[in-house]
């Protein structure tokens, strides 16, 4: 398979994540969408690194994954906080801040 196939795969996964973020009403679903988008980028980085024969491209995803994990942990913590104070995880119930 050529580079192009991987780029298309990553673009498709990215768009799936984007679609999830936009259409999901459940906050956890939205978080999953963001994770999907970030991981699509990792596919892209690894593919570029592999086809350029460049080690740097394989090191970048390690950083990116570390950041993604931190984001996921923080995101879940915020959702738990949200559930504790608001008793809901549905995004369309979050309407205290408006204007």
């Amino acid at each position: 398979m050529g580079l192009q196939a991987y780029l298309v795969l990553s673009a498709v996964v990215f768009c799936l994540g984007l679609f999830g973020v936009i259409t999901r009403r459940n906050t956890i679903g939205i978080l999953l969408g963001v994770e999907l988008m970030l991981n699509a980028v990792n596919i892209n980085l690894v593919a570029f690194g592999r086809f350029r024969g460049d080690l740097a491209g394989l090191v970048f995803p390690v950083f990116a994954i570390a950041i993604t994990v931190a984001e996921a942990a923080l995101g879940l913590a915020i959702v738990i906080l949200l559930f504790r104070v608001r008793r809901t995880v549905m995004a369309d119930h979050l309407d205290l801040l408006r204007g």
Binding site: L7, F14, G17, V21, T27, I30, L31, V34, M37, L38, A40, V41, N44, L45, A47, F48, R52, D54, A56, G57, F60, F63, A64, I67, A70, E71, L74, G75, I78, V79, L81, L82, R84, V85, R86, L94, L96, L97, G99
Partner: protein, 480 residues
């Protein structure tokens, strides 16, 4: 071998103070008072001294962090932001019973991330710095753990922040794929060399990076999180994030777009033109309709982002100097204004509606006077510093031939004066409600001192701006 650490010493000082704050909190007996805030001040003074020593030295660490004068100027702005924020935060932390160690540690870590972002010369390091600063800020937004608004604001900010990070990282991936490097100076030359052969991918890469930056500097149409996050966070945090994040993000924005991607300026300048115009107009027009001072200042902050974008699109050296000066003035002014909102807040009442400020002149004359200074400076009235800052930005735009954009800028600043003046009229000409006289709290000394110092700085920069302007202009030469 230690020479390679020189450029990151300011960040190391702040990070060390952050760790010290965490450790101090961990070993603190329950109820035992411990000066955790002053630890942060010590770290920031260390950062200030090292910044002064690094000036003009052009030190580089590990090939990815360059302490050139541009980065150091922004670092200096961030140190000012940090010191003022710590002073303004102290009464909030006491009043709300916030976890002291965590609050100060997060603020210091976030500052370290901002400094890294301002001096990084590698896209990957810029991304890491962006995440370091953002993750801490998301938590700070929701630091009032029993507040419904706080949790909601933190979630919305986190969600859109993570979303924009994905775009930014995707952009970096494409830049890396196209050039085989993430280092800014190599990216620039390689992108220019292959400008014709890989058109669409290049546009995609630049566009994705632009979306990522636009979210962080809250440019329209990527500004939706701004008013929510600014309203939900404690005002001291809002002051910190509205100024620090903007300074760091604009520093990286200028570095990436005006040096690395400058060869492609024909491709992105029109998009940034539209972004700048939309940001100025929408920030101002929606700001007029706000009844909460926090939301009004949030939209004002969006509009100020537009003026900075206007300087960015102009792209010449005058404009880069104007960005630095504007960031400094905006940071001090906005922190002062949020400092006032912060000291007027009580534990159960935000007191942030415009009507809550009725008659402030008769209850807190000094605060009313200071608030007048800050609002006039935000509106760009002489002799406040905001006037000089706007003057230079518009002059740079006209110099670069963006006359229409400058006209939009001037018109929107005139409109924005309307909503700043509304608060001023409220403070001086309306009688206070019978009950506000008793509910408005007394002003804590430390925060009061920070507010007065901010006011003095903007007066000084408004009356005698030459020296700082010269520094700003001198800092932009030799930027990577």
């Amino acid at each position: 071998m230690f020479a390679s650490f020189h450029a990151i010493v300011p960040m190391l000082c702040v990070t060390a103070a952050g760790f010290a704050a965490m450790v101090a909190e961990a070993f603190r007996e329950k109820g035992e008072p411990m000066p955790i805030g002053p630890l942060g001040v010590v770290g920031l003074i260390g950062a200030a001294v090292s910044t002064a020593l690094l000036w003009d030295r052009h030190a580089t660490s590990f090939g990815v962090v360059t302490a050139d004068n541009f980065g150091l100027f922004v670092t200096a702005i961030l140190i000012v932001v940090g010191l003022l924020s710590l002073a303004i935060s102290a009464p909030t932390v006491e009043r709300e019973g916030l976890p002291r160690g965590e609050y100060y540690a997060l603020m210091l870590f976030s500052l370290a991330g901002m400094m890294l972002m301002a001096t990084a010369t590698d896209l990957l390091v810029i991304f890491l710095a962006l995440e370091v600063l953002s993750l801490a800020i998301y938590v700070l937004t929701g630091i009032r753990r029993d507040s419904q608004m706080g949790a909601e604001g933190a979630f919305k900010y986190f969600l859109l922040g993570g979303f924009s990070s994905a775009f930014f990282l995707y952009g970096i991936a494409f830049v890396y794929g196209l050039t085989g490097s993430t280092h800014l100076d190599r990216v620039g030359t390689l992108m220019a060399a292959q400008a014709t052969s890989s058109g669409p991918l290049q546009i995609l890469a630049v566009g994705l990076l632009l979306v990522g930056f636009a979210f962080k500097v809250s440019a329209v149409p990527f500004h939706m999180w701004t008013p929510d996050a600014y309203e939900a966070a404690p005002p001291a945090v809002t002051g910190f994030m509205s100024t620090g994040v903007k300074a760091a993000a604009f520093a990286a924005f200028v570095r990436v777009f005006l040096s690395a991607l400058e060869p492609l300026i024909g491709g992105w300048s029109e998009i940034v033109w539209v972004l700048a115009a939309a940001t100025m107009i929408l920030g101002t027009v929606v700001g007029v309709a706000q009844t909460s001072i926090k939301r009004m200042l949030a939209y004002s902050s969006v509009a100020h982002g537009g003026y900075l974008l206007l300087a960015l699109v102009s792209g010449n050296d005058t404009a880069k100097g104007a960005v630095l000066f504007y960031l400094l003035v905006y940071a001090v002014t906005n922190l002062g204004a949020f400092g006032i909102i912060s000291v007027l807040e009580t534990r159960d009442q935000a007191n942030d509606r415009v009507t809550d400020y009725a008659g402030l002149w008769s209850t807190h004359p000094t605060l009313a006077l200071m608030m007048t200074f800050f609002l006039l400076s935000l509106g760009g009235f002489p002799p406040m510093a905001g006037f000089i800052a706007k003057w230079y930005v518009f002059a740079a735009a006209i110099h670069a031939g963006y006359v229409w954009l400058a006209i939009i800028g001037v018109l929107t600043s005139v409109v924005s004066v309307f909503f700043y003046l509304r608060v001023i009229v409220m403070m001086y000409m309306s009688a206070p409600d019978a009950d506000t006289r008793t509910t408005l709290p007394a002003v804590p000394q430390l925060a009061g001192a920070a507010i007065v110092i901010s006011a003095l700085i903007i007066l000084y920069l408004g009356v005698l701006p030459t020296r700082v302007l010269e520094w700003a202009a001198a800092s932009v030469s030799g930027i990577i």
